[in-house]
């Protein structure tokens, strides 16, 4: 019998839950959700959303449920290669995820259904596009009832986006702290005064925060019973949220890394040679999936994706990730997923029992990790000992392509300008010794016109 277990992040909704059997992911649909599920499938909404790439596909299976008493059906959703979280998205990814949610809501209304939740964690990127992964997020629309997920949408999408656009792009990291979205009173106090003149932000954030404060602990039963929300008013609310989201904008400029390549010491020959060497090394390992750490705008990730390899292109700079995503969107690239990640402090496991959202490391393994022009930032800027780096990388994948940048390189010299050189072991021999404890070197190649070397290694 294969091992079965609940997926730890899937416990809030009494309508069903995710579980794994062997290596396959299933979703149990409970009897409590039967009528809504039937409506989703028979109304034409499911087909419309799947055709438009807005909802994950699934098939009904004959698998036995995990909880027989509650079960109505077991479905098998299409596999999402890598689960990403809102605090790992760049501005445009976040905005597209918000617009995807509202677009689904508008489609649902046409078919007499609504979204009963609007969690940013329900949106994932597949083939470069955002889509809803929770098939149980729909329920029958009942004329007169307000949108139950309005508060959640504002906290999960609108507040972080407004803060990223108007206060600081790094505000997306508040989502790492607040599992149910940014509290609106906090968003309201952090947003600049000018946002009070934006009608949408004034209404959905500032007034919303005041209303929450004013009516906390007050009996509003009578008011709610008397005032109903008509279908037109419901649509008006969704349209208003949509135009507010669309009005938010952020342009990547002036950050440290966005113009990194123009500031490097690579000659054109060295740059092209590095691409060719990388292509060869990838061909030797033949990975199905790659994590490119410190990918900048994804130039070298695209060496992998051009071979049809799914590549997650991580970088610490929101501007670089934004440029990377916009490029992938423009070219309709399906194999690349740019994401924000600070390797010196990677995404932790958060939520209930520290198990709801997985840490960066828990989402391993991949087949191959790329660490190009990265090691000096980790070892010198962040003082991480080389053996510790080798051990960390070895937990992520079987193969590693790593570029060693020696002290003589001008980029390393730049890092050492303002500090004492306390790194006596940071040299080629020290690097190779540290990594050989975890890996065997398959190939090591010097990059022409530089002092750098590219290694392909396989874990012992």
């Amino acid at each position: 019998m294969s091992k079965m277990e609940n997926v730890s992040g899937s416990f809030r909704d009494p309508n069903g839950f995710l579980f794994t059997r062997g290596k396959t992911l299933y979703r149990q649909v409970n009897k409590a959700y039967q009528k809504h599920y039937k409506l989703l499938m028979t109304s034409g909404l499911y087909s419309r959303l799947v055709d438009d790439g807005l909802l994950v596909k699934h098939e009904e299976t004959s698998q036995s449920p995990l909880n027989q008493t509650l079960a109505y059906k077991v479905i098998k959703p299409e596999t999402i290669g890598f689960i990403s979280y809102p605090y790992e998205w760049c501005f445009s990814q976040y905005k597209d995820a918000a617009l995807c949610t509202l677009s689904i809501m508008k489609h649902a209304l046409e078919f007499n259904m609504v979204l009963k939740d609007a969690s940013a964690y329900n949106i994932q990127f597949l083939n470069g596009m955002p889509l809803l992964i929770d098939t149980l997020s729909f329920e029958k629309y009942q004329e007169g009832y307000p949108w139950v997920a309005y508060r959640q949408f504002c906290q999960h999408f609108l507040a972080p986006l407004a803060l990223m656009a108007n206060t600081d792009i790094r505000m997306s990291q508040l989502m790492r702290v607040y599992i149910d979205g940014v509290p609106l009173d906090l968003a309201s106090s952090l947003l600049p005064a000018k946002t009070k003149f934006n009608l949408g932000l004034q209404a959905h954030i500032h007034l919303h925060a005041s209303a929450q404060k004013r009516y906390a602990g007050k009996d509003i039963k009578k008011v709610v019973q008397q005032r109903k929300v008509s279908r037109m008013a419901f649509s008006g609310l969704v349209n208003s949220l949509e135009s507010t989201v669309k009005s938010l904008d952020w342009k990547p400029e002036g950050t440290e890394w966005a113009e990194y390549y123009s500031g490097t010491n690579y000659t054109d020959t060295a740059f092209e040679s590095k691409k060719t060497l990388l292509e060869d090394l990838i061909s030797i390992a033949k990975p199905k999936s790659i994590w490119d750490l410190g990918a900048n705008t994804g130039i070298f990730s695209r060496v992998a994706t051009s071979q049809g390899i799914t590549t997650i292109s991580f970088d610490v700079d929101p501007a670089a990730v934004e440029i990377n995503y916009l490029e992938s969107k423009k070219a309709k690239e399906k194999h690349i997923l740019p994401l924000l990640l600070d390797l010196t402090n990677p995404s932790p496991a958060i939520g209930w029992a520290n198990e709801e959202r997985l840490s960066f490391k828990q989402r391993a393994p991949t087949n191959l990790t790329m660490a190009l022009a990265l090691i000096h930032h980790m070892a010198i800027s962040n003082n991480v000992p080389l053996p510790s780096l080798a051990e960390f990388f070895s937990r992520l994948s079987r193969y590693l392509i790593i570029e060693f940048v020696p002290k003589e390189d001008s980029q390393v010299q730049r890092l050492l300008v303002s500090r004492e050189d306390i790194f006596p072991n940071y040299h080629q021999e020290g690097f190779e010794d540290a990594f050989k404890a975890y890996y065997r070197v398959i190939k090591a190649l010097p990059i022409p016109e530089t002092k750098r070397r590219l290694y392909l290694m396989e874990r012992h």
């Binding site: 309508n15 139950v148 709610v224 008013a233």
Partner: protein, 73 residues
């Protein structure tokens, strides 16, 4: 302290009986939403009405003009 479940049950009588509603919509959020939705809905209504009025006058105006194109048979 307000019992939100009472409010929720009053608004969603049949759904909450199913145990369907698992999010707390928040009392302030609920009230504000009703207000914004009403205004936004009125906006849609006014815009739609304005389009109808405009279309009506355009029709009247066109009727007063000699047709420039004749239907080909």
């Amino acid at each position: 302290m307000i019992d939100l479940s009472i409010i929720v049950k009053s608004v969603y009588p049949d759904i909450s009986a199913d145990g369907m509603l698992y999010l707390d919509p928040g009392s302030g959020s609920f009230l504000l939403q009703i207000l914004i939705a009403t205004i936004a809905g009125a906006g849609i209504f006014i815009a739609a009405s304005w389009r109808k009025v405009k279309a009506f006058f355009i029709r009247i105006f066109k009727k007063g003009q000699t047709p420039t194109k004749t239907k080909k048979t």
